[in-house]
């Protein structure tokens, strides 16, 4: 942990109310450059809702999301992505009928400078941009060991590779902060182990700060330096994995669910 470094993300009193239901209540969190923090809690605790508020899918009822010194909670999701927050989804949301390579290249569109007219005419300038993007996407696929399936439809990939492609696609937006929503869901122990190494590797190679929702305690306890626990929309614990493991409140929340 390097608490001395910059605060990258600061959530201040984040609250989300749906109808009469308080999904998240007064949630606070500071993330620093380079952190790898886990967010755990029973189903329906509001973890994904926190993600949705950070990445702009939901506008919080109350509270602030401050990213890199800027308030972002009212911005559109694509603008937030442009500022450097990328995410994956609990239920995989790939572009199924697009090739693996195209899935990655979609992430470059937000920063594209060329006009649609140049693209329509197919000017030499545009075509060379297109070639560069293709190469960049391909080398990213190589880095995440997916280049062998670059031209296959995303929906035809096996489950584990789809999860990895989702992460790669998020990385292609050049994020400073990466939000991973249950990346190990549905994986067997071998795939999970692979994923853990993968997350640690991309953190180093791509220099990203990671906030991770996960049910698999092995993953959370194995790679996170700090863990937050939510229950019924409220944060009930915050600390190192060791401290969390022995926290009576956490044990109570997980009664019978504990792995």
């Amino acid at each position: 942990m390097n608490n001395a470094s910059n605060t990258l993300l600061s959530l201040q009193g984040l609250t989300m109310v749906f109808g009469g239901l308080v999904a998240v209540n007064d949630f606070n969190l500071d993330l620093h450059d380079g952190d790898l923090v886990g967010l755990i809690g029973p189903n329906g605790a509001g973890k994904t809702t926190v993600f949705n508020m950070i990445s702009g899918q939901y506008i919080p009822t109350k509270g602030k999301v401050i990213f890199d010194g800027q308030e972002v909670q009212r911005l559109m999701p694509n603008v937030i992505t442009g500022l450097g927050i990328a995410r994956t989804f609990q239920n995989i949301r790939l572009f199924g009928n697009l090739s693996v390579l195209d899935n990655i290249m979609v992430s470059f569109h937000g920063k594209l400078k060329a006009s649609f007219i140049a693209a329509m005419i197919g000017t030499p300038g545009y075509l060379s941009t297109e070639r560069d993007l293709r190469e960049e996407a391909y080398s990213l696929l190589e880095a995440v060991e997916l280049s062998d399936v670059a031209y296959e439809d995303a929906q035809s990939l096996p489950y584990g590779k789809q999860r990895r492609l989702e992460i790669a696609r998020a990385l292609a937006t050049h994020p400073k902060l990466l939000l991973l929503d249950e990346p190990a869901a549905g994986m067997n122990p071998y795939e999970t182990l692979h994923l853990m190494r993968f997350i640690q590797r991309i953190r180093k190679d791509f220099n990203v700060t990671i906030l991770l929702i996960e049910h698999d305690m092995k993953v959370v306890m194995g790679i996170c330096e700090r863990v937050l626990v939510m229950d019924f929309g409220i944060q009930i614990a915050d600390g190192t994995p060791d401290k969390i493991r022995n926290d009576p409140k956490v044990i109570e929340a997980y009664l019978g669910v504990d792995e």
């Binding site: 749906f18 993600f51 609990q90």
Partner: protein, 312 residues
């Protein structure tokens, strides 16, 4: 959108007397209640399947033809013919759901929409081929022909009876939706289809039931529409249908009470605006479009609708 040459009568428009005002208002309520009846079918189906059932307007058209033929062939009283037409339309609605929509329930949204447009066009053109494009004169029931006098305001029977009959039907519908087990199941399916299925509810049956209910009500609306405008033709459903869907959007799509309110708004606006500005009479349908765009700009969730949110 467009400018009109001031017509010869446009200067008279601003001198609406109180009597004509009330006459027109009642007229608008009468038309609005018909839009309400039609809007409910759209909103019920949209609430459950997220589908604009384009064919609904054609079921409405079929309702008028069924009534027309039952009266003509079996020489039955008007009200009984309407009940029979409602039953027939319920069957048609269920058939459409079973044959055309159910196979596409898990398909991309756009496929279901295209199918709906296809079914609508199929019914219209089948109508053109079988009964012809020439409008038929619909026999007006005596009840609707009467002229009543209320505080010195002369009111046509249609204007009185259509809202009353519609009101009874709407109350009956609200009873079904909020007070019966089936109605509860319908609301549950609209909220979360999968969860409802897991609770042991036969979702397919509830959906069929929804189509039957919506179609029967549309048939009743169609029969009364024909009493108002007694010229019927196979394409007559298109515009009332589109306006009724707009009404459902205005009221908050998926919300039954909202559909009723929306229908009233559209109906009253359609009568009152041209009454106030006779020069714009030709643009009557354009007002509805303007209302739709206005709502989409300012309050897309409609009057009673909840802001939509997708589970991420």
């Amino acid at each position: 959108m467009g400018r009109v040459k001031p017509g010869p009568s446009s200067d008279k428009g601003y001198n609406m007397t109180l009597v004509t005002f009330f006459q027109q208002l009642l007229n608008g309520v009468s038309l609005g209640s018909l839009y309400s009846l039609l809007a409910i079918g759209y909103t019920l189906v949209y609430g459950i399947l997220g589908l604009i059932n384009f064919a609904h307007s054609d079921v409405f058209m079929l309702g008028t033809y069924f009534t027309f033929f039952v009266i003509g062939i079996f020489v039955l009283p008007w009200w009984l013919s309407v009940v029979i037409a409602m039953g027939l339309c319920a069957l048609v609605g269920m058939t459409i759901e079973r044959v055309a929509y159910r196979p596409l329930r898990s398909a991309p949204r756009i496929s279901a929409l295209i199918t709906a447009v296809g079914v609508s066009f199929f019914i219209q053109n089948l109508g053109l081929v079988t009964v012809g494009a020439r409008p038929k004169g619909f026999p007006r029931p005596e009840l609707m022909e009467n002229v009543y006098s209320l505080f010195g305001i002369r009111i046509q029977g249609v204007v009185v009876w259509v809202p009353i009959i519609s009101g009874v039907i709407l109350l009956f519908l609200l009873y079904i939706i909020y007070r019966t087990k089936t109605g509860m199941a319908m609301r549950a399916v609209a909220k979360d289809m999968e969860a409802t299925r897991l609770m042991g509810v036969n979702v397919d049956r509830i959906i069929l039931y929804t189509f039957a209910l919506g179609s029967a009500i549309a048939a009743a609306g169609g029969a009364m529409w024909a009493a108002r405008y007694p010229q019927i033709n196979p394409l007559m459903g298109i515009f009332p249908g589109w306006k009724a869907f707009t009404a459902a959007v205005v009221g908050g799509i998926g919300n039954v009470v909202g559909a009723m309110i929306g229908g009233m708004i559209i109906g009253i606006a359609e009568i009152m605006i041209p009454a106030a500005f006779p020069g714009l009479t030709g643009y009557r349908d354009a007002f509805v479009f303007a209302i739709l765009i206005g709502f989409l700009l300012i309050k897309p969730s409609g009057i009673l609708g909840e802001a939509q949110k997708e589970k991420v």
